[in-house]
């Protein structure tokens, strides 16, 4: 176990280092300096800006300074949001993203398992087919389309909810739907297929033969084993929800991390892009790390080796 944790930790640190280095040199590879676009800036101001951001030093020195700052969790100053450090922006906006993300994760897990379970119990019946149709659709409909459409119908047209913002609990409803449809669809399919497998296992038949009630069988015997794959999906799901939130937050006008990320990309705020990318990556790796530990703890059969995981963020 300790070797396993150590290996994972070293991997995370290595990955972050590779990503930090890659972002640094990628950003430096862009021709010109970030202040080229600004017109009517006097030469003196420009020189001062360049000096302030340290762009006059040789490349390796900038890189070392950058790494040193990173170790101290200093991500530098934003280049477009005046007088704000990247760390401040992230700290402020992440509270919104975290709230929304946690709600979406909890909703995805509960609804996904419930739908998958019902589909498995009513295998080949109408409910099963409807649930799977929904799950297939949920994987296919892009969340930015879904978000825009539900915003229009439920907020603009019928005014059930506020159009934008994240001020009171009802504001969570629409963004959560937009964020969790994809993970729900995935979890439902995963739960259904493993439950079908588990429910036809010998030990379930044994339990039935002993006269144990079907609800007890379901909860005590079937769910325990049937939910293992779902646990392993939590890591990739966090990835889905985080990248999904990039779009959903800009649609619903939530001042979260995703919105700042889109903004930083569209106005080429390099320090902010680098900072948020690293931050996202760190969260994701942490989520995967927790998933691996949880999985290893729940299922002792798993050798503490690399787990394949769920593929691309987009599914």
């Amino acid at each position: 176990m300790i070797r396993f944790l150590l290996r994972k930790t070293v991997n995370i640190v290595l990955s972050l280092f590779v990503l930090a280095t890659a972002t640094f040199f990628l950003m430096k590879a862009i021709p010109g300096d970030p202040f080229m676009q600004e017109k009517n800036v006097p030469d003196v101001v420009r020189q001062n800006l360049i000096k302030f951001y340290g762009f006059d030093k040789p490349m390796w020195e900038q890189y070392l300074v950058y790494l040193n700052n990173l170790i101290h969790l200093d991500l530098g100053m934003s280049m477009r949001q005046q007088y704000q450090s990247v760390s401040d922006i992230i700290a402020r906006s992440f509270t919104y993203s975290l709230q929304l993300g946690l709600v979406a994760i909890v909703v995805s897990i509960i609804v996904g398992i419930a739908v998958g379970l019902i589909a498995a119990l009513y295998h080949r019946k109408l409910i099963d087919k409807l649930a799977m149709l929904f799950a297939t659709l949920g994987i296919a409909v892009p969340n930015f389309v879904l978000g825009t459409i539900i915003q229009y119908y439920f907020a603009n047209k019928f005014r059930f909810f506020d159009v934008a913002g994240l001020n009171d609990p009802s504001d969570f409803v629409l963004p959560t739907i937009a964020l969790s449809v994809l993970p729900i669809a995935f979890i439902a399919r995963l739960t259904r297929s493993t439950m079908l497998e588990v429910l036809s296992a010998d030990y379930i038949r044994t339990a039935k033969a002993k006269g144990i009630g079907s609800l007890t069988i379901l909860i005590r015997h079937a769910l325990r084993n049937g939910l293992l794959p779902v646990v392993s999906y939590v890591g990739p799901m966090t990835a889905n929800i985080i990248t999904g939130s990039v779009v959903v937050e800009s649609i619903f006008g939530i001042a979260g991390l995703g919105k700042f990320f889109t903004m930083s990309v569209s106005n080429r705020d390099y320090t902010l892009i680098m900072g948020i990318t690293l931050f996202y990556a760190a969260i994701l790796m942490f989520a995967r790390f927790l998933t691996d530990i949880a999985y290893a703890l729940i299922d002792p059969r798993i050798k503490m080796m690399k787990k394949g995981g769920g593929g691309h963020a987009a599914g």
């Binding site: 972002t23 296919a140 497998e197 779009v247 963020a313």
Partner: protein, 314 residues
């Protein structure tokens, strides 16, 4: 098979018994299909899966329309016509026009061309790199495997879409930089699948036989190991096409996709978002086509997986 043999022993066969034997053959389908080759059996399972075939037909239509669609319409996809902006669908403009008066019909199918090309090219790149890396890892094992595996683990931990966004910001956006960005981390999943398959296969007897006859490493890799792990590879490719298409649409939504006047579905959706409440068809056609294509790829991919591995089917 048992009743059929008994009947022939009677000496005479009438047509009614023929019918009965046929029926019998259908019931004992497992016995009958066993005589097909592996490829035929996979094709049979795929063909009898109505959902998967439906997906395949839809994909065929989308692909054909992507090729001929822009040619059918009398308007091309890039010419603006400020006298005919935001036209509703009509006999003149089948899918209406956008805010610059460009023909939505041509643009939708041009978008299909770009989205499909990006999806297929990214999947192909993943395939080539993934099979090569996975093959090397799985076949050579030992230190090489340890190093490459560690390398891919480190790379895999970096979120896919973030890498794509980052590279697109730096390289600028056109179709090929997007494909390049996607393949930087896209191959990893494939390489792990190939690696696992090959580690399983390389200890089989026929590999030993081939080796004892003096076959070299790459010969065994390409002639024996890769063909035998084809199933999971094909399925992974089929399922990675829609995620590449989605990633391209997502990038375009962020303004990092292909640039105007080129049209991809993501670009069209993004263009339509500001005014779709007034001109819903501008969103409907690209978003609908994107959804339909993703759906078709997904159900076809699922069908392929079931066809290759009936044990997985539930």
């Amino acid at each position: 098979m048992q009743p059929a043999e008994m009947n022939t022993q009677d000496g005479h066969i009438d047509s009614a018994q023929f019918a009965r034997i046929e029926k019998q053959a259908k019931v004992t389908e497992v016995g009958v299909t066993r005589s097909r080759s592996a490829g035929q059996e996979i094709w049979y399972r795929l063909r009898t899966n109505h959902w998967a075939m439906f997906g395949l037909y839809v994909l065929a239509v989308v692909i054909i329309m992507a090729i001929i669609g822009p040619l059918i319409s009398q308007y091309d996809y890039y010419t603006t016509n400020l006298d005919a902006t935001n036209q509703a669908p009509s006999s003149e403009y089948w899918f209406g026009t956008d805010n610059l008066g460009r023909d939505m019909f041509s643009r939708t199918w041009k978008g299909a061309q770009i989205s499909l090309t990006v999806g297929l090219a990214a999947a192909l790149a993943d395939l080539l790199i993934g099979v090569l890396m996975g093959g090397i890892m799985g076949y050579f094992g030992g230190k090489v495997d340890e190093f490459l595996n560690r390398f891919s683990e480190v790379l895999y931990a970096i979120p896919y879409l973030l890498v794509v966004i980052l590279v697109s910001v730096v390289l600028g956006s056109n179709m090929w930089t997007i494909v390049l960005a996607m393949s930087i981390t896209g191959w990893i999943n494939m390489s792990w699948i190939v690696r696992g398959q090959i580690m399983q296969l390389k200890n089989q007897e026929y590999v030993l036989a081939s080796r004892s006859m003096g076959a070299g490493g790459f010969h065994i890799l390409l002639r024996h190991l890769v063909p035998n792990s084809l199933g999971p590879i094909i399925v992974t490719v089929a399922l990675s096409v829609p995620s590449a298409i989605f990633a391209e649409a997502f990038l375009s939504f962020l303004g990092l996709g292909v640039q105007s006047p080129a049209a991809s579905w993501g670009v069209m959706i993004n263009d339509a978002l500001s005014s779709w409440k007034m001109y819903p068809w501008q969103l409907l056609f690209p978003a609908g086509m994107l959804t339909i294509t993703m759906l078709a790829f997904n159900i076809f991919g699922d069908g392929l997986r079931d066809a290759f591995d009936p044990k997985m089917k539930v």
